[in-house]
Symmetry: C2
Subunit: 405 residues, 2 copies
């Protein structure tokens, strides 16, 4: 059974998540708060951000079969589901596990503390009324959460029809997703300018992107090769990475294959895709650890930047002039700060964005003093705790302790 | 029988070629000679350039199976043929029809007036000693001539091993070829920098380029999809045309397929490729007409440029200064000339190259005067003779005149 291939027992996973949560709360969060990290970067994390199931985001032109694919994964119709030949899905839907099936409206879902959707509130009412949760009692959802999205339309329709920032929302989900599935229809391949923009948005996350060439069962092998070849030809140019993106070829819904000429291939491809989806929970553990390390490094650098700027502020007079001066030559200040505290320049944030955020601070000297013992505590995270968790995550089910029968 | 699908009877073709030759000699060549067109552009054409069979150039990394492919097309070993796992073919070989089989050395072949290879002499002894003809009595060679090429090597080997300008030679053949086949080996796909340069050289001729993904029979369908996908991904970026290049997938030699999983596909692909090769003679007729029109347009514009520059030269004094002045502002002269004689600017040659060639002329005023009746004669080529030939070529075998049984 595919679902059982997971090598990390659930108990192990929960222990690791608990460890991450504790580490974050005790060692990282204090430094984030004293240096106002959330103002400059991203909101502090909630417990839900650690526990959240791996999320799979599904995007693509309208009618390529996104909703039908999700339906086939969950194995039944889900609340709020709409499938049809014209543009049908008009909202982002998080399809999540639950015993009591039903739809949960976007505003309510974005308020829940135990869900990772709170920061979606930044996109406002227009977006939240196009967002909902669909709670389904389906086994696959115990392991992953699926996110259905409205089909990308072409030209004016896309621009006029959406009264929220579609790209920014896609970006939000893409950043948090463990896998991003971009679907294409083998019968109409054209990559519209709007879809190109969406793919551009996904670029920072290209290692998480997979492509499905859907509805590939109605054409013969030679046509399939032409369509698939044309897709790869364009994708290579649009995605611009040297590594070739994994493309799964198939018909990703429940109906039997329309044409058996490529049955063997399509079945193997579907099996591989399901296998990748089933492996997400294990990979998610490693990914969460990685993300926390990345965040901790940013927090450390951020705290030192604030410290370094604050130290240069005068006690009484000409505070404003000095602050303006520091902002103006912020790039040089970054270099000096990196040298002073032996921090890698590569960990420093974007200068332009940091300047903008800094201008919103009235008086840098009001920041609280850097407590170096907090930094020392956090450094232990890198040197001791993370390596230990990492080892545990990788050892996984292959640990020497006997597993209960 | 595939060989019989040609819709132009040989008699028609010969009539058309005779027409083109006569037209060129009577209407275009006189203007070329009086305006020194060959000095600025390319050598005047020989009768052989019209009659030459469609040429198919085969290129690719070493050991991809170029020579084996040619062997399978001609249906027997050909004189001078060498096949092997290391870099084997060390020369350009024109595989041509003839009753008396044998090898013809490059120097001799490039001297023959009835062959289209005369202008290869520009590449000198080093090249000519790496060039040969292989005369074979094989039916397919009645319709096309095949050109085998030495495999592209990687890195230093390519640069050091070749004591002639490899790219320039590829360019020469590519320009004259009716089809350019770029071969890849499904087992090792890497596109080396050297191969990238060769593909760059082929860019102006991208409509004639076809790709063969060779040795595709030993892998299963999923592997084949991955390899083929990776090839398209890279080719799209290297070739940079929006139109997708036709890629034939198969095992293009005589041995039976190593694995039957994709037998149907590979057989259909081979059939399509053979069909395209067999259709070349018909297409070649239209292509030759097109090329002659293109050349005639260039000749006309060239003759007017010379005329326009010559007119501005003083009779006696300060010739050199004036000539230098004209060359310095040649781009403006082109614009003025185009306006004066209602010539499309798009037909004008590259300014930089024209300047270089012009500097080699001692005195522009020594050019002979433009005989406008020659231009009028040539204009008739466009308005009357070409359309008539074109119609004949396209009507082809479907003409209303009863064909002899
Ligand atoms: N694998 C498939 N093969 C053939 N047809 C399919 C397949 N999957 C879905 N369809 C059909 O394609 C149409 C669009 O399907 P669906 O609504 O799932 O697409 P969608 O991508 O969710 O569209 P939208 O962006 O408008 O929400 C429907 O008519 C559906 O029945
Ligand atoms: N379709 C094929 N499938 C498997 N092996 C092949 C195929 N065609 C050729 N080979 C083998 O690959 C090797 C190279 O073949 P060949 O000499 O024809 O390549 P080539 O491209 O002409 O190489 P070079 O550039 O060195 O001249 C030989 O060992 C040959 O037997
Ligand atoms: Mg949908
Ligand atoms: Mg060879």
């Amino acid at each position: 059974d595919l679902v059982d291939q997971s090598h990390l027992r659930n108990m192990d996973k929960e222990l690791i998540f608990e460890g991450l949560k504790r580490m974050y709360r005790k060692k990282i969060l204090p430094l984030e708060e004293s240096s106002k990290f959330p103002h400059f970067h991203s909101p502090s994390l909630n417990p839900a951000d650690f526990e959240a199931k791996p999320m799979v985001l599904i995007v693509g032109q309208y009618s390529v079969g996104k909703t039908s694919f999700i339906r086939s994964l969950v194995g039944k119709d889900f609340p709020g589901q709409r499938v049809g030949p014209e543009p049908t899905t008009d909202r982002f839907t998080a399809i999540m596990y639950g015993e009591d099936e039903g739809v949960m409206p976007g505003h309510a879902l974005a308020m829940q503390a135990d869900q990772p959707f709170r920061s979606l509130q930044q996109f406002g009412n227009n977006f939240l009324s196009k967002f909902e949760g669909s709670v389904v009692n389906s086994p696959i959802l115990r392991n992953i959460t699926l996110v259905d999205s409205p089909g990308v339309l072409s030209g004016e329709k896309q621009r006029i029809g959406r009264d929220y920032d579609f790209s920014a929302v896609i970006s939000w989900f893409a950043e948090r997703a463990d896998l991003i599935v971009v679907m294409f229809d083998a019968h109409k391949l054209d990559i519209s300018d709007e879809l190109k923009m969406v793919i551009d948005t996904l670029k920072p996350h290209h290692d998480k992107v997979r492509v499905l060439l859907n509805k590939a069962d109605a054409i013969d092998t030679q046509q399939l090769m032409r369509v698939y070849g044309a897709l790869m030809w364009s994708l290579g140019k649009v995605m611009q990475t040297p590594e070739v993106c994994r493309v799964y070829i198939g018909s990703f819904w429940d109906a039997p294959l329309a044409n058996l000429e490529n049955a063997l291939l399509l079945e193997r491809e579907k099996r591989d895709l399901i296998e990748e989806l089933m492996g997400l929970p294990d990979n998610a553990v490693v990914r969460r650890i990685n993300e926390l390390v990345k965040r901790a490094r940013s927090v450390k650098v951020h705290a030192y930047i604030i410290h370094y700027l604050r130290k240069q502020m005068p006690y009484l007079y000409k505070k404003e002039e000095k602050q303006a001066e520091l902002i103006a030559r912020l790039d040089q200040e970054f270099v000096a700060c990196a040298r002073r505290y032996s921090l890698p320049l590569g960990d420093f944030p974007n200068v332009g964005k940091f300047k903008r955020k800094l201008r919103e601070i009235r008086d840098i000297s009001k920041f609280s003093k850097l407590d170096k013992s907090l930094v020392a505590e956090m450094d232990k995270v890198f040197t001791h705790e993370i390596p230990r968790l990492m080892e545990r995550a990788q050892r996984g089910g292959h640990s020497a302790t006997p597993s209960p029968q």
